[in-house]
Symmetry: D2
Subunit: 448 residues, 4 copies
């Protein structure tokens, strides 16, 4: 998972600062590295490093990054790879000048494309998909960057919210089934933005225009926005974007993430009611669904667990003995809401099952009479090759255990998932989503 942003302005030369704020708005999509490339009249300067956006970019650097086009990227590390050379944007020079790329998604035929390029002598300096994309564009680009991008996209099988920049153009592309999101926004009269999520538009004061259609490419330059629709197939936006990844204040393909999650909570309450004293959300991911569950069930919503806000990277972890003594750093149950209460604990999803188990134990230790877990996503049973970091199949508790076993493992008095139908009913058009990790039906088959 990554967050991407791109800004083109006819008149502003401070788009780097706007890009910085955009990365900050997209920070929840990736905390491993942050990067930015800026075009200053044909000269592309860039910087990327491990860390959060505000750690990576000091003010002096942003001040130095004068220019009218910029792209940015925050990265979540698949497979724990934290190497700097996998940070994005990728900036390359080739026959036609400079090119910068930021990609969110996964190219399924990456390996075969790379092998073909290597057979022709290409060298690679990272493990990221963008490097294959850049090589393809460099080979296709004779006269026209637009043709080269289109030819490249035709070669690629996979998912992408892809943003490119050369010296006079910002380019955005969304994969043919719209599995990854990408939106277009506008600031003032002459500044266009592309972003993984609309919350970045809000943050910089820009207006949301529209989502890119599946298979759409936009070319943005001083003549405005030109749209080309490549292969277009029914939209299959990743369900996990709405369930988990996106910020509640974002809108993806017309769906408010907040309203979706609240509705999923309501559906869950209809499907799996329980007599209880209070409804609490697992911090922080279950909050909105818990509010929905409370509304539908008429059981009061309450805060059950308090989170310490002052966590930092350099925090000293407790040793085993202290953990056994009960040292509890990030979360503290609100005993007065828990003790002798029957509690509905709502979370957004279960992947490995370790978090929910720990949370149930915390509530029981604080004196909860009963804890009933309700999960606002169906069981996640399949690993995703299209980008989502669900990890190896053996880590997916729903693939390894029956519902009864999970319920027992969790320590809860009951544990229920929303149904796939319930999930789909939480949005306008539930069929426009990929639910591959839930039902195993992927819009793009695994290659090799």
């Amino acid at each position: 998972m990554s967050g991407v942003i791109g800004i083109y302005s006819k008149d502003r030369n401070d788009v780097s600062l706007l890009t910085y704020y955009g990365l900050y708005a997209l920070q929840h999509r990736g905390q491993v590295s942050a990067g930015m490339a800026v075009n200053n009249n044909g000269f592309v300067d860039y910087f990327k490093d491990l860390g959060l956006a505000h750690e990576v970019f000091p003010k002096e650097m942003i001040d130095r990054f004068v220019g009218n086009i910029a792209i940015g990227h925050v990265r979540y590390a698949r497979d724990n790879s934290t190497q700097l050379n996998n940070a994005q944007p990728l900036v390359v020079g080739y026959k036609q000048g400079a090119l910068a790329l930021a990609h969110d998604g996964a190219i399924v035929n990456f390996k075969s494309l790379k092998e073909e390029l290597e057979d022709n002598g290409a060298i690679f300096q990272s493990d990221i998909d963008s490097e294959v994309v850049a090589n393809l564009i460099a080979r296709y680009h004779k006269d026209d960057i637009e043709d080269a991008v289109i030819s490249t996209l035709k070669d690629i099988v996979g998912t992408y919210g892809l943003i490119l920049m050369n010296k006079d153009m910002l380019i955005g592309a969304r994969d043919p089934q719209g599995i990854k999101p990408l939106s277009l926004g506008k600031l003032g009269d002459d500044t266009y933005l592309l972003s993984s999520e609309t919350c970045a538009f809000d943050t910089v004061g820009a207006k949301f225009i529209r989502d890119l259609a599946p298979g759409e490419v936009v070319f943005i330059d001083d003549k405005g926005v030109k749209s080309v629709l490549l292969e277009s197939r029914p939209r299959k936006l990743c369900f996990f974007e709405t369930i988990y990844f996106a910020r509640p204040d974002s809108q993806l393909d017309g769906n408010s993430i907040y309203l979706f999650r609240r509705e999923a909570g309501r559906q869950l309450a209809s499907e799996h009611p329980v007599e209880a004293d209070i409804v609490i959300g697992a911090p922080d991911s279950g909050t909105v669904a818990a509010i929905g569950y409370a509304e539908e069930s008429k059981i009061p919503y309450a805060e059950g667990i308090v989170k310490n806000r002052y966590v930092g990277r350099t925090f000293i972890q407790p040793n085993q003995e202290l953990r056994e003594l009960g040292v509890r750093l990030k979360l503290n149950p609100l005993r007065e809401n828990i003790e002798n209460k029957i509690i509905v604990l709502v979370d957004d999803s279960i992947i490995r099952g370790t978090t929910i188990k720990r949370t149930v134990k915390m509530l029981k230790d604080a004196g909860a009479k009963e804890v009933h877990v309700r999960i606002a996503a169906p069981p996640v049973k399949y690993t995703c090759h299209l980008w989502m970091d669900t990890g190896a199949r053996k880590n997916l508790v729903a693939d390894q255990m029956t519902l009864e076993e999970i319920e027992e493992m969790s320590g809860a008095d009951s544990l229920r998932y929303i149904s796939v139908d319930g999930l789909k009913r939480s949005v306008e058009d539930g069929e426009s989503f990929c639910a591959g990790c839930i039902n195993g039906i992927y819009p793009i088959p695994k290659s090799e």
Copy 2:
């Protein structure tokens, strides 16, 4: 405002790590500096610096801080003073050996005590009250530390949660009216803790034993806890501790902060009902009262404003032009909950009025039909000389304006405060609190 913690253990020699976690739990009470002193068989080592606890103390230092008694302090800067020499604990040597002090509160007769000491040739290396306390103890301490502490406390007029440590004893003292909080906890069989708030006990897995009584001093050493009750007067715990400062998962003098705030929200709903679509809390301080308001009023609770979690110290602030463009970094309204809605916005208190004005504007800009502000504390009209940082009187909007003027200034469609009676009804014994900043009646008069 400060947070103080002290730990005495007969057998453990890793109390520094527990103190570190305790400071982390108390971090909300002060983010300007953090410090810790540790006794290792008579040798007192210490460190303090500007920053959060996890920034100030690297692991190597905590590992080096071996010992069985420790005290810690986090500091909030009154008057923007961020000088390192005002960080605590204060560690001094005197005739009887080493002494470390951590103080939360304000000594009202500080100036006259200091003058008297200076008349006798004392020098001072900081502006903190603890330095006067240490000088007094040094002068009183002939044979017995307990007598010296008691004599010193008799000289002092003011508020304090005070923790002291010498080579074989941990000492805690609470002011005669209990304006500042201080609690006693226990971990295992042989380890005692003192803390400004009980959330620190939860964090390190300790059990809460009891609050110190107003005017109580405890001496903790290998013989256990010895309690001495100095002058004891009716308890007058600062109301702002419950309203604002304390963590919702703490208990102060038998009151759950969470339940208090929820009840204040309910009282507010009874006193100032309004027909509305949703109730939202001002982030983060109004959340609990908003939940209470929603329960009492039967209007659905919702999240109205999303907060970005990734704020950091080094964040680049937007310039004026970008602010006007609408760059909105920390908070983003949830448009789908706001647009065309009648909204009850609940906050814990109003001091200067600038925050509530900004929040109302944000909601209106996001399309709110009406915004009705409800404040879970009565108007704050008086500056506090007993420690609370309400600033100069001219900054207190409730002192400078009528309710109508504040309402108009805020931009809200209506603005109402909880009554003093309503506030008092939110706790068991509402008369056991100091409401000086609200009604001007202070348990300790201003000196000079």
Copy 3:
């Protein structure tokens, strides 16, 4: 200018630490960036960053860099480019696996090679020559790395001390005229080293074996050292290596740098004698030649200028007013050796002339009766395209002014250069050097 080092060991797996010390020994060859790549059974890990070797590599990283082959690089920035992406080693993946490269020198046909590669779709992520080398090897490498390296070197016109590493081999190559130095060393029975200068061997306790011959390539693996002599032409080691760049304790092609510089000082004394009280060296570069001048002239050698050792990167530079007031940070004249004395000031070379002017002024201000400048290198009149950072021709004072003009500009009472013949007489075989920057005769013509 750069410093390169490579280490191959059959049995040791801590060559990263040895490489680190080697980079430290070569630090004088480049202070802009430092980098290292380590092979651990086929997995190549690496790190590079701006800064000195000891700043770039923390202990934890070196500890983590387990492996038996490593290469390292320190970089001097031509054209003030301090971008991180130009740091070396360059590490790439290609059809045959990982390849790491460290290069000291300049490829004269870089532009045409790059264009040819770009015509075939290659992309570039830096401005460094190594990236062209890596692309060529990737294209040539079908079955045999040795053939690919040899084919690549045949394509390249330029100067190089080049070190390469793949998963089982360390490779070193010196350009056909030996303009750049590269030496082979050995540590214990099974560890071979390649280095720009022999001082790196001394530092890690290794023995110098021999210089690579001009045009020689060595392939080092578990079978030992295999040498291939490509095109071999008469050696033309860069004179500036001996005059300026190399450390006095290094040996290049059989010449002790110390003895060379002392001899140049003696020649200078013979050619341009002067009656004087003392001989001093310009700090630090003129010290050895000054000792030689003193020996030959029988004028006492003395220290004339004291250098402050505690300079750091973060040092606050004085403003104009303070400079005029006489704030003198790094250097302080030893008044007692200067005042009323006739001084011979010896320096190694003059490029722009600003330094010598400042030094003469400092001595005059300190009361020197006369200052006679003697330069141990002939006038530098030509810019070098083979790697040396002499900058644009207009910066070369010897190209822009006559000797008389330079003398006047310098403020010295007299200023004399060693003759080209005198310089050549300072070494065994003076014809084996390139003196292009002095006489304009370059062993490789400028391309395009």
Copy 4:
């Protein structure tokens, strides 16, 4: 050992920057901590931290330190104490306002003064002598700071170059026998400076006026410099200042350090001649004496050992195995000057003997035929209670061994010290020095 500096200006308000450069010039006198206090119209701001001056003070801080009086301090840690609370200047408030102190030296009756103060209730926050001085001044200061300082100095037995500052005055004091140095300088018309060494005057472009006389106190304010001579006894400047501590470009009590050391080298050559090929100095401390030895003996001076300039605090130290392998980081012998040569190795002094032993071994390993050690100071046999960090007596090799034993331990072919007479002949008035560590005769007896 410490370095102290103070600046008073009538008109300048940037004396903090001058103080910063002064500390940088005095950095050789202490590298453990650096600190500065600045007076800005009665408000004293200050900062001190562990590290070198340029590490401790960022530009922003110096820019903020506006004011016309400043004092600074660099500290060498006696007894390896690196605690921040022992850094200077000490800044205190007392009845009469702010006072800042910087002290170089040792108060011999520190313990009894401190006990007396503690008996009267004083508390101490550090282990430094200045805190006793500040307490005494605070007690004495009724109407007049000058009287208070004089009374305080009369109480103190010990050595000092002491600089004090209050809101309108800079004060300097030198101990009654002038064991510690302190000099007065002037910059422009209205700015006076006090410094441990004159090199700080040169660095900031100031003129040296004179050394303070033993027992002199100067009070500098807007009326100029007022001098008071307290008890004045014959000057006994510490010999080790000239032998080792002071920078060669400083002048102490009329003696050029450079000329003194060169003359000591000449005396040494007269006393202990040897037939040899070259004379080299132990880096860096033996260089000047070696030049003197070479001049007198007519044996050529040469560089024998090259030092790596790029050492840093964070440097990774080699492990035992690598040390045995011969990893040699800071120093490398110049083999061509060493091999088969008879060498005179000159050093300034021997304390423990470990360094000279290592250096002799390095030369022998590099092929030296013979190594003759010549030491420009007599045997150091007595520990110093007056401030010098010679450590415990058992560490002093000259106290533990005979000359023959030291010679054998060193591995040298011969080892000779300069005689006490020779040393005294190296300066104008050799009797004006304390040679306590050499002859055991101290101008101030050890107390208790």
